[in-house]
Every structure is written in C-alpha cells, then in structure tokens.
Amino acid sequence: MKKLVRILDGNIFALSEDNGDMAFSPTNPSGFFAFDTRFLATWRLTLDGEQLHPLAVHEPSYYEIRFFLVPGHPTHYVDAKISVIRDRWISDSSFTERLTVLNHTGEPAEYVLRIDVDSDFAPIYSVVWPQASALRGYREVSDGCLRLGYRREKFHRVTDVFSSEPAQLDEGGLTFRIRVDRQGKWSTTLQVKCLVLRPDGKDVRDRLGQPYGQGGTARRPPSDLDGQLHHDLRRWIAAAPQLSCDWAPLTMTYQRGLVDLAGLRFSPLALPGETMPAAGLPWSATIIGRDSILTSYQALPFVPDLAATTLRMLAVFQGSVLDDYRDEEPGKMINELRYGEMAAFEERPQSPYYGGADVTPLFVVLLDEYERWTGDAALVRDLEEAARAALHWIDEYGDLRGDGYLWYHRRNDKNGAQNHCWKDSPEAICYRDGRLPGLLRATCELQGYAYDAKRRGARLARELWGDPAYADRLEREAAELKQRFNRDFWISGGEYFALALGPDGDSVDALASNMGHLLWSGIVDESRAAAVAGHLLGPRLFSGWGVRTLATGQVRYNPLGYHVGTVWPFDNSLIAAGLRRYGFRREAGVIAEAVVDAAQHFAGRMPESFAGYDRDLTRYPVPYPAANSPQASATGATFLLLRTLLGLQPYGEHLVVHPEIPERFGRVELLGIPGRWGRMDAIGNARLGKP
C-alpha cells in the first residue's frame, strides 16, 4: 500500500499525500475515515489554480500534522513569494484544517484559494481491497455549509464542511478570493464533520452516549485537546513499569511499544469510557477477537486493565444462536466487527463475524491469566456463564467430527474465511508438497488452546466458581486430549507435530511455526519437547531474525509469503514463552534477542511481520509491506518477550522472578510490575560467558 502521511484518533483517521492533498481514485487509500467509512475522498488545495508542494512536513503527535507548502514544482532552489501552512488535526469526531497564507512580498496581493471536496462514502473494506468504487451521493450547498451525503434506504452518511472565513461554496468545493497585505497573512479554519445519521436527523453515536474517538478525548474544545492527549499519554506511561536495560534496542522497543499501545486503545461503543486494544492502525481499528485477546495477554504484566475491557466486551458479543452467514454458534467469541455499509447490508459478514475457532478457547485462557495476575475474582465470577458457554462451545460446536478435536469448517461459503485460525490466508494450511487439504481442518495450535482452556477453566471452576465436579471433568478431558493429540498429530518420521489434520483425519504434514504455540499451551509431552525445540531453532524454521511461519523446504515456502514464510513477532513471542515453559531458557533467549534486534531496524516499532530470508543473506530484516502499523499483537510481542526473559510468573499472591538473560542484554531492570501483590520489581543479569 502506498506510503501516505496520516493522523488518527482511535478509529477516526485521515491519510493524505505529503502536501496534504487527498485525490480520489478507486485504488488510492487516502481520505478521511470514521465509523469504517471514507467520508472524504478528495480534499485538494490549489492557489491560483496551482498545486502546492511541501517544503516540510511536521508530525508532532499521532493526531496532528503541519505542512509547509509553496506553489510550483519542486526545484533545487525555491524562491517563494508566498507560502501556505496547513495545520491539520483530529478531534471531537471532526477533521479540522487551518490554512494560513503568507505573503512574503512587499506589496499587497490577491489570490484565489480553492479546496476541491468530494467523497465516495466507501466502506473501509473497499478501500483496503480496491474495487470499482466511484464518487457517490448528493451534494448540497447551504448558508455557510457544503454538505456531501450518501443515502441507501435509511442508511445515511454525511460530511459537512464549514469555513470560519467567508467562502464561495459550490457542490465541488470552496473558493476564497483573498487579499493579503504585504508581509501579511490570512487564515481560515475548515472543519469537516462526519455524521452517521438516523432518519430523525440525529447522529447515532450521540444517542448512545459514546465518547467518539479514543477514551476520553472527545467532546473537548480543540484548544484543550492537545493538553489532554499529552496528559493521558504521560499518565499511561507513568503507570507502566519502568524498564532499564544495558542493551538500548530493548528499552527503545519497549518505550515505543508503550506509546504505540496507547495509540491503539479505543473505546468501544458498548463500553464507553473504557479502552481495549484495536487490532491495528489504521485499517483494523476495530475489535478483532484474536488480536484483542493476544495483545491483552501479552501486556498483562504491564497494563492489565486492557484485558478486563477485552474480556467484558467479548462476553457482550458472545454468540447466542446458530447463524450460517456469520459462522456464529452459541458460546462462540467474535472474530471481527465492522460498522460500514457492506456490513450493514450484509454484503460482508462482519456484523459481527464469528469465523475464528481460536478466539473462544483463548478467551478462557485470558480470563484465567488475568485473574492470576490481578486477583480480580469479581470479573471471573461475573463472566462465569460466558466462560462456561465458551468451554461448552469447544465440545459442542468445535468438535465437528466427534473425535475430541477442535475443527473448523465455514458454513458461509460465499464470503466466510476458509481458515479460522491466525493463519487465515487461503493457502496457509498446506501439506509439505504444497497441496491444500479439504476445508474441514483441525490445526494443531487449536488443540493446544483447547487443552489450555480446559485446564484453566478447571482452575477457575475449582477455585472461583465452587464447582469441583466440573473442574474434575475438564481436567480429565484435557488429559485425554493431550494423550490423543500426542498420538495423532505426531509425525514420527520427521519428529514434529503436523500442522493440522485434514478432512479424513490424515496429517497435514507441513513443518510450521504453529508447533511453537503447542509449547505455550503445554499440550506437548515432555519427551517430545526437545525435538520440537530443535525444529523451532533449526535452520529450516529459524531465519536468524526469528521463527518463520513455514519452514524452508516446504513447497509453498516463500520468504515473502504472508503466512508461508515470513517471520511474525507475535508468533515468536508465544513460541519463546512456550520454550521457556518447557525449560528451554537459552532457546527462548535466542528468539527474544533475534526479534528485538530486528525491531531496531524498524525504529523500535515491532512490525507485524518481516521477510523470512536467512539473516546471512540479507543482513537486515526485510520489511513486509503490511497494511497496519502499529499492529497490536506485534506491539505486544515486546512485552511478552520481556516477561519471558525475566521469567515472571504469578504464584498465588506472589510474583516469581526467574531471569535468564542472554549476554547481549546485560542487566535488565523492570520496576513497578503491577499485580495482586501491589507493585514488584524484577531484576536480571546476564550470565556472562554462558553459551
């Protein structure tokens, strides 16, 4: 996707060229977006008919930007007689731009300043996956306002444009005929409001008591906004544990991760005033169940509140009926929610969509882990019924063949996902020889999640729900699952676990990173852990920067393949945690060091994924052109890796610290780790000279 400059506040964002212009074309993702809809597709500034070019672009924070512009084409030396400053920010659900025209000559001058305005009101899906999109809707000019609107039946989206200075309005934009004194300046403030209107003319969001963008930033005058956002960010960083480390890349990645996680927070309509992590910015600024859960899990020792909101939100959305189009079943947790036109008119199933077989067991995993860290028994009791329904879903709706495994098979064969796991691209689940299995699939990591969910559910049942009989049953089922799994998924010739079982119960035998998640879940027999660890750190899976999604030598392996060869930091963070769980501390450290090392090539921002080339070949991690940056579970990887290095584990009311630090890190100090113990410090020193 094209490199554009952007500003954002939660799920409201604007993308433009580096001169601030947005110009509609079906394949251009620039625009002003809110509520999963593009409200502005064209926003183009000209001065006396000429386009402007940037001398400088300044981005003081994620929600504001400043462009210094001059007319004419860029040359080595621009002796401008006039310049324009475009200050742009997002607040209160609006896009605001202050235009300032500076006359640098000794004479007064007259200019014609023009803003072209247009919109296609495209749902985000059509922008990310470009289709035959066109400018649409009606245009109305009234006293002081240009309105762009789009109606479909009662569905109604509106973009209103206002100017603080008088303008000549027409259906295509605003024209200012201005006179600027010598050495003088002129300015106007343009406000673009996006409205999600009901038939009675009210905005749906106003009627649901929702602070629009990120938690608490809406509804304040713009003058105060800057201070509020800065204050919020300062407080957020101050509340997180303080890290110091001899190896600068770790502290840099940690600091960057905290700021990115702050930017990823959004306040869901159903829980106004609370925040949870969105999956990625800008295109996935929504609930994606898996990403929200994993990020909350990774960040638990640092910012535990995210998990509470995530758990409560997912419980609100928990499936309660069979619905083929949405792949919904009672007890199932959501995969994705969207508010755009395609979701509204059921051209896409995200209203919400439930096509993920991992989200439901992972909900139970997060609930248990959350209580272990925070001691918040009230939430676990509150969500008892939701958690029981989730556990029931695994057996009743996940075990599609009645053989005790968690399978998936979409019922929406029109536009449902083929793969209901994190590797959700169509070719991700494959045999070694490149064939694709039939659509009834049981990937290995799902079995690990189900095992872990049952074990953790048993603990909750015994200790918090007062139901020891249920706990016994869950533990028995988990033990049986583990035994069965180690028998049926093991490929004895290759000494590794199959990626999946296919429709006939045969082994889908590609060698893939999914195996690492099995260690994290604890489903692997002790006797087999060393072989698994050997593969994960071996040359086919380990690139030198991390564990590849798919091993070299598999027919579909491609170092630039989204789920068939790239390295994903979030994947690696779970793998490292799994290795640590089975006692492979040195190996966990190797992965942590490799991934953090890679992150410094991305200015400390942990990328969603990067290419799977051998480290010796490229010497630096080659970026994968991801749509989202930051991406939540990649951001969270740093936190889980840090937890793994320090060996942090809640044990009753205490925090156990058991560091195993690779030499390169030197000393690692993490001060003020929040939890049921209050605040605790963890300090670890590398053991020098140890291999």
Partner: protein
C-alpha cells in the same frame, strides 16, 4: 397492537430468552402499529427477564421501530445489529443492549449445526 407482538412478549415472559446471568438493565420497545405506538418494557435482572406493557417508562435502552420489522427480528429473520446499522430501527441509550437484543429473539430459521455441514465437507478451493 397485533396479536403476534403480544404472543412474542408472552413467550418471552415464559421462556426468558437467552440473556446472560451477568446482565441487568431495562430495554423499552416503542413499536409503531396501525393504532399508534405501544410501549413494552423488558426488565432484565441478572439474566431473568420480566415484561410489562405500559407507558414510556425510563429505560437503559429504547428501541424504536414498527411492528412489522420488530416481528421479523423477533422471528429471527432479521439480525438486529445490521438492522440497526441500516437504521431499520433506532436505539437510544446503552449500545450493549443493541448487541444483546438477539438474545431476546428466536434464532435464525434454517441455520445449520456446524457438524451437519462438516459431514458434507467439500474439497479445498484452488487446490
């Protein structure tokens, strides 16, 4: 007021819907019919549902629509959330009750158990 609406709320009183035990609150339905607007108040107390018909009492969430559309949702023919996105009904108050509305209504007719579908699993695409 139509018989069908009354029957639905009678059944809801008896059956109780599928509300989760952690949920408490009130939802008022303002249903426009041929003889004007009827108000139905659904009070949820830790998952237990009670229904009363009466005036425009205060509620955590107020749903406004006409009887015909309401009945399509009640029969499971229309999913509430996309219907809300299309403005087929309007909601004021707490959004979580819009999401959980379907817990008061019948499941979609004709939906299949995933095991029934998996039994006839087809081949992979693009094999």
């Amino acid at each position: 007021m139509s018989e069908a609406v009354r029957d639905f709320f009678d059944d809801l009183t008896r059956g109780g819907g599928r509300m989760l035990r952690q949920v408490s609150g009130t939802v008022r339905f303002d249903l426009a019919g041929p003889d004007g607007v009827d108000h139905w108040l659904v009070a949820i107390d830790r998952g237990q549902v009670m229904v009363s018909r009466g005036g425009a009492d205060d509620a955590d969430t107020v749903i406004q629509t006409d009887e015909a559309l309401f009945l399509r949702m009640a029969r499971g023919e229309l999913k509430p959330l996309p219907a809300w996105l299309r403005n087929d009904f309007t909601a004021d108050g707490e959004f979580r009750f819009v999401i959980m509305l379907e817990r008061l209504f019948a499941p979609p007719p004709g939906a299949r158990h995933p095991r029934a579908v998996a039994g006839h699993a087809g081949p992979a695409e693009g094999r």
